[in-house]
Symmetry: C2
Amino acid sequence: MTHPENTPPILLVALGGNALIKKGQEGTALQQLDNLKVTLRQIARLSERYRIIITHGNGPQVGNLLLQQECCDAVPKMPLEILVAQTQGQIGYMIESTLDSELMAQNLTTRPLVSLISYVVVDEHDPAFKTPTKPIGPIYTKKQAEKGAWPFQKTARGYRRVTFSPKPITIVEKREIKQLINMGFIVICCGGGGIPVIREGRAFSGIEAVIDKDLASARLAMEVGADLFVIATDVKGVAINFGKHNQKMLRKLTRKDAQNYLKAHHFPEGSMKPKVEAALQFSSIPGKKAVIAFLEDIEKAVAGNAGTEFID
Amino acid sequence: MTHPENTPPILLVALGGNALIKKGQEGTALQQLDNLKVTLRQIARLSERYRIIITHGNGPQVGNLLLQQECCDAVPKMPLEILVAQTQGQIGYMIESTLDSELMAQNLTTRPLVSLISYVVVDEHDPAFKTPTKPIGPIYTKKQAEKGAWPFQKTARGYRRVTFSPKPITIVEKREIKQLINMGFIVICCGGGGIPVIREGRAFSGIEAVIDKDLASARLAMEVGADLFVIATDVKGVAINFGKHNQKMLRKLTRKDAQNYLKAHHFPEGSMKPKVEAALQFSSIPGKKAVIAFLEDIEKAVAGNAGTEFID
């Protein structure tokens, strides 16, 4: 029933953790709700011209839940995928209610809006399940790490629990999400990269892992046929020689250069690297545009006036 | 685009807490997922003949999150409505993934299925905000209660934190939920009675409270025009003289008798009483049917062969 010629393009915006908690903040509920306004005000305006999907990270939030359940022996500890589900509830509510308010303030209340639980299939034979690489949760001392029940890794800031970070294969709710955006719904989904599950025969089963939210967002963007993919983060775009005297921010980045910079380790693991990989995956489809941009520049980035745009 | 004459009736099933955690269980993730199967197998089968909405409680789960954050001073404590949002994520995922598996097992994979974050507007002038009445979370000693930052109440099992339990005014996502079921989606929503919010001018704002899940479900059932409302719980139906030698289970209950029994305090607060009130509210609409039934008897109750049916 859709009329392709009249249908607005699909914009998927992936929000980094700092859309909710800024550097140096403790991360109270009020801080998180307040920080979201600047981002969601822009997305409210963009909803007049685009079909919108919003995805988001959950790093600090899932870390807090992990820490809380470590403190407390009185209640059963939940596996990691359940904690991811809890953060989807928390952050989904925060984004939805803030966006609702911004839409009301702009008299745009006719757009239906939902925040969905999402789970994402991973492959249990993914080589990522051989070595845990993704740091999660709080900082531990060496002594605590040695007594801990999980693998730990020494990081610059201390010992951190590490878990598996498999590739996203498919977003289970892709068909529903596609149907919803085609009907004009704004959809919030794929929080924290999605709840990781494996298929076991005719059932899905949760698995201890964390999926990178930018890679999951790229996967979803491709599965629903998004036109434009914006990865919104706390820097103005992609830089080479990051943090060095010859740091250089790139406004346009050819896919070939991006691949070469990746090989030359220009982009930090777990930070800019998966964003560049996600942008590369999505922009490999002819006619599709990927941009990595500052959270406050989402509208400018959509207009082609900010961030790093991936080109052929 | 809907064809009323061909559209299946709308069934709203409200799942009690024991759909997830049975009496005496600790409530691990595996127990919760396993317990859900018997309920969701029935709902999967019913989805062939009904448009389906599933709502659910969150008592033990929100209590556990409260207890965890009390244990742990290292992370910012979240207000109650955020914890409710977290349980919507957790339980929404558990219900959705279990129902997905049951639908697959029955070759019913064409029905789209979503689990939504839901918030529910309450009135800040509701008299319920004068006195906290709803016990939540763990049991405390007298000493702990005296030192605590909230109101406490002495219950049969010890001291418990009490919070406000205002009436649900409207479910914010009602329009979206209605649209979704009309398109054949199975919708999981209104977890834990919904995240309580008040309207402040053009915005929604979370408020410290817990909404009764049966009353919120009745409200939603009325707002979306459900035809049949099943409140699924851990007893076979409504009984008078509950727990006494002359206890009598009722298969049919006239609305008038129900009102009289309510006045005569036959139904415990926070347990059967709000269920009877919710069933009365919904069944006040001509042609609408409300049933209170055992979790394992949902299909039978829908067929008119189990539970307590409210009649005129």
